[in-house]
């Protein structure tokens, strides 16, 4: 087949698969595909993906390569963060590497957590207002930031804030992972994020220590474990803090490019039982890696 023939076939196949917007009743999943060096791979089509539910193949019924973002930037502002990422550095990084890369239709809410959890209103197409919101979140009026760190409750609040929004829903969390005083359990928060189709990506501290108790026993404490878990569970990207040195700017650039470069696949749930099901996605090109959540919540058909 000639190159022109391949191009024509791609167009034909693409035309036969509706966009997500055309099939709002479908279940959707966002997939990140990266090539060597972690660079986002663009230009893929639906035919490059295979989808399985509980191990059984399912057809991809809709496909989109570009969707506006509905995003919550969520900052941990407690004392323990002061040794991780300096607030001024991260504020500057947002200005230089992040805000300018947003698409006009992207909408961003800025949130923070410490003694209280705050999720600001959506901001779209207003870089100055967004930068001000980021700076304000990083420099709270309440100077008493010596805990607690209700990270799971804050993620849950962000997921709730994103629930009514359209587009590609995501949270970018900046935290050291030392979560305390949470009303919600991590497992429940992860399940709700999956059910809402919200990806949680993390710039996190990869802090770990082994605490010796006596000559024979010790305990390993890892603040990164929960951060890695929520990113993996929701199909997000986890970037350890060490990779942010000397400045977090390139990391923010990568996170945003990764979210913008995602593909959205739509499929029909095989059952409507209101339960979690295993989701498997493969990209059938060599040398590529992909990232997506591994479960989805089937809708519940009340007639069943």
């Amino acid at each position: 087949m000639t190159i022109r023939g391949v191009f024509a076939l791609c167009l034909l196949l693409a035309a036969s698969i509706p966009t997500v917007a055309e099939r709002a009743s479908l279940e959707v999943i966002d997939v990140a595909v990266e090539g060597p060096g972690g660079k986002a791979v663009t230009g893929l089509t639906a035919q490059d993906f295979e989808l399985e539910i509980n191990g059984a193949p399912r057809p991809i019924e809709s496909f989109a390569a570009a969707r506006p973002l509905s995003l919550v930037l969520l900052f941990d502002i407690t004392t323990s963060m002061e040794t991780m990422i300096k607030r001024r550095a991260i504020s500057n990084a947002f200005e230089k590497f992040f805000i300018g890369q947003l698409q006009p239709e992207d909408r961003v809410q800025v949130g923070s957590f410490g003694r209280k959890i705050t999720i600001g209103p959506p901001i779209a197409g207003n870089p100055r207002a967004l930068l001000t919101a980021v700076q304000k979140a990083l420099d709270p009026e309440d100077v008493d930031t010596h805990g607690p760190s209700p990270m799971w409750d804050a993620i849950d609040a962000a997921v709730t804030a994103l629930a009514p929004t359209s587009g590609r829903r995501a949270v970018i969390l900046v935290s050291d992972g030392r979560a305390t005083a949470n009303r919600e359990a991590p497992e429940d928060v992860g399940n709700r994020a999956v059910a809402a189709g919200v990806t949680v990506s993390v710039v996190g501290e990869d802090w770990e220590m082994t605490i010796r108790q006596d000559a024979e026993t010790g305990v390993r404490v890892s603040s990164g474990a929960g951060l890695k878990w929520i990113a993996a569970t929701t199909g997000g990207l986890y970037v350890p803090e060490r990779a942010t040195e000397p400045a977090p700017g390139p990391i923010l650039d990568r996170l945003l490019a990764e979210l913008h470069g995602r593909y959205t696949l739509g499929f029909t749930a095989p059952v409507r039982d209101g339960k979690m099901h295993a989701l498997g996605i493969r990209v059938n090109r060599p040398g590529l890696t992909m990232r997506a959540r591994r479960t989805f919540l089937a809708p519940l058909d009340s007639s069943q």
């Binding site: 407690t78 004392t79 323990s80 100077v143 008493d144 010596h146 805990g147 607690p148 760190s149 030392r178 979560a179 305390t180 005083a181 949470n182 009303r183 359990a185 991590p186 605490i211 010796r212 108790q213 006596d214 026993t217 305990v219 404490v221 603040s223 929960g226």
Partner: protein, 290 residues
């Protein structure tokens, strides 16, 4: 004697007696009844059960008052457990967590506990609950070692978290040392103790591995009718938790009407009729104007 010692515990509480006549075991709202929780030990330090009303005498500013309410029933526990997560506690991390876990596992259906930590930050989980699964989750996920020992800020935060509760409100702190506060605003012992006394909180403090509790903490525990335990190196913390729980469950409840609601702190003293008995109870109460 320090002012703080004179202002020892007891407050006019919102729980009171069913009527003016002496009754057994029934509470209803009243603003003019003072409730005192008393722990009685024998000469060997063993808890003494099965005492009756006539075994006690209550003195209000030195004047005997009629005990209008008495209960020797097992008392439910409402407690905030504050765990010291400072750097010096690192070597005790597993022991502290597993002992607290044992305490949680031994809670009775009517007991409620809340778990908090202090170190680099102060964090108190919002769940005051009997749900052991929730409490286990907190112990599994929310203990982060490192930092100083901001114990007075921590005790104050614990009281705040219990402020809306009625009845006996207990703060149980487990620590290995003296106050070391790096916060922007560090509270003073006197302020925290005054609050505990005026608002009727009860403090138990456990000092781990013989490093010695702050003198002010020991005084605050005594003033509020609680207690303190100093554990030698390697001692069984679980046994101390059990001891605290036993004390709390076996406390006697004595109620009396103040002679005068004058808005002042009154000294209160409990005397035992039987010789050899030692009683612990708060040493003052606030006779708040209704």
């Amino acid at each position: 004697m320090r002012v703080a010692l004179l202002t020892v515990a007891a407050i006019v509480t919102a729980i009171g007696l069913f009527a003016q006549a002496p009754q057994e075991g029934r509470f209803r709202a009243s603003i003019d009844t003072v409730s005192i929780y008393a722990t009685v030990n024998d000469a060997d330090g063993r808890l003494v059960p099965d005492l009756v009303r006539d075994d006690f005498t209550v003195l209000d500013n030195g004047v005997p008052r009629e005990i209008t309410f008495f209960s020797s029933d097992v008392q439910p526990i409402t407690v905030v457990i504050m765990l010291d997560m400072s750097g010096s506690m690192l070597s005790r991390f597993i022991r502290l967590r597993s002992s607290t876990q044992s305490f949680v596992d031994a809670l009775l259906p009517q007991d409620r506990a809340q778990i908090g930590t202090f170190g680099e930050e102060i964090a108190i989980n919002p769940h005051l609950t009997n749900d052991k699964q929730v409490l286990r989750r907190v112990l599994r996920d929310e203990l982060w070692p490192m930092g100083g020992t901001p114990i007075w800020n921590a005790l104050d935060a614990a009281m705040t978290s219990l402020a809306s509760e009625s009845g006996r409100r207990v703060v149980l702190a487990i620590t290995d040392g003296v106050n070391v506060c790096y916060f922007r605003r560090c509270l003073k012992p006197g302020d925290v103790e005054r609050r505990a006394v005026r608002e009727g909180f009860m403090l138990y403090a456990v000092g781990m591995d013989g490093t010695g509790l702050d003198r002010e903490i020991i005084e605050m525990a005594a003033d509020t009718g609680g207690g303190h335990f100093e554990l030698p190196v390697g001692a069984d913390l679980s046994a101390t938790f059990t001891r605290v729980a036993d004390e709390l469950r076996r406390q006697y409840v004595l109620g009396f009407s103040p002679a005068e609601l004058d808005g002042k702190l009154h000294r209160v003293e409990i005397r035992m009729a039987k010789p050899g008995m030692k009683v612990k109870a708060r040493r003052s109460y606030l006779a708040a104007r209704s």
